[in-house]
């Protein structure tokens, strides 16, 4: 089934989305990949303030190509989620439980999605030009020194993904 999701979300908004659904997102998404995950995990461990509030928000694993004149970002498709697996349960436990990436996740991530009533959504790998066309604005909100890996806040419309793990921890096929 095709469902829509507006981000940030409120408690209950994710209940209707089931593993195997196409999901069309509009709203605000945070963007971070390997180094951002390491830094967010370090910030939590050392009790530092986080660069954005986790509750109700989603994180997209992506590192864009440079933006030509007139574009918010260059190509902007997902990167492999498995590399974030070591960090995701900790982040989900602190409220960042809706994740967008590509490829399979560990059992620990599936359980973290279930325990924290989040979602794991797969964006379509390699579709960088398509996703760029659905991004209306982008700004760096932390770690600018990471270049294409900096933490971004983006606003999107009609952003297509596929639900791999739903808020009850159910999987689409063998996504773990």
């Amino acid at each position: 089934m095709r469902k829509s999701l507006i981000l940030p979300y409120s408690p209950g908004d994710l209940d209707a989305i089931e593993a195997g659904d196409e999901v069309i997102i509009s709203g605000v998404i945070y963007v971070g990949r390997d180094q951002v995950h390491k830094r967010l995990a370090d910030a939590i461990s050392s009790g530092q303030e986080l660069p954005f509030g986790f509750a109700g928000n989603a994180i997209y694993y992506m590192g864009p190509s440079p933006a030509p004149e007139g574009y918010a970002l260059g190509a902007a498709g997902p990167t492999t989620s498995a590399r974030m697996d070591p960090f995701s349960p900790l982040l989900a436990g602190h409220g960042l439980a809706v994740m967008i990436g590509k490829g399979p996740r560990s059992e620990a991530v599936r359980k973290a999605v279930e325990d924290n009533h989040g979602l794991y959504l797969q964006a379509y790998g390699g579709c960088g030009a398509l996703y760029s066309s659905r991004i209306d604005s982008a700004e760096v909100i932390a770690y600018p020194e990471l270049g294409p890996e900096a933490l971004l806040r983006i606003t999107v419309h009609d952003f297509p993904v596929f639900c791999m793990i739903d808020s009850r921890g159910r999987l689409f096929r063998s996504s773990v």
């Binding site: 190509a75 579709c127 689409f172 996504s175």
Partner: protein, 272 residues
Amino acid sequence: MKAEDKIKNALIKAIRKLPDDVEHLIIEAADSEESEAGRIVLNAIKENISEAARTGLPLCQDTGMFWCLASVGRSSDVPLQRIEDAVIRGCGKAAEEGYYRRSVVEDPVYSRKNTRTNLPPVISYELVDGDAVVLHFLLKGFGSENCSSLRMINPTAGEEGVMDAVEDIVRKAGGKPCPPMFLGIGIGGTMDRAAFLSKKAFFADGDFAFKDKLLKRLNSIDIGPGGLGGSHTVLDASCVTEPTHIAGLPVAVTINCWADRKCSVVLEKGEI
């Protein structure tokens, strides 16, 4: 036109537009895919191809690491130094003017400091007949490259053993390399030579003995587009073989994602 500009133009085109045969295989797959989820993925890929053509944006944000095979004619009198210069300058200009993502780091283990130029390229040289210089480029994305692999199998394993090795590598890759995939297979030589041949295979033409059998087998394991299941896991494969040792049978597989981005630049005598 200067050789480096010819290289630059080919590389900028290659991140935006797939070779016609690759595009054709994707369209065919979208029309015949059996799973609904697989069709959703293939339709997104088709839309992405149109969007890249319309906007001039790269197909994928991972514009890859430059991999180049310089095939130098035995009768060519061009110094290798000049070929190396043209390749490096051409790659550098393409990264700059084509909005490539800077994806290359200097030290692989410790600093991992970005070179900020997408350089250096990986360059190999070989001698071929004739007097031209032909430069073959792969834009090697690493979602798929991380799934490329090699097996040193038993010399008596034969065709079945080779197919088992390839299937094992594809199964382990699963949904990670952005399937449907394209495979380059290198068989024979030494360990490193087989790995090299698996990249060179992307520029080999035509069929090999067990191609149909292999594709049928790989497309029945239900990885499917995006790893969501379906009848298209591998769209095409090519293979290069070379002599090897009596005690060995090296089998290497390079996996490319559906965005099988590559180009060849022919520099005739006098063009470089």
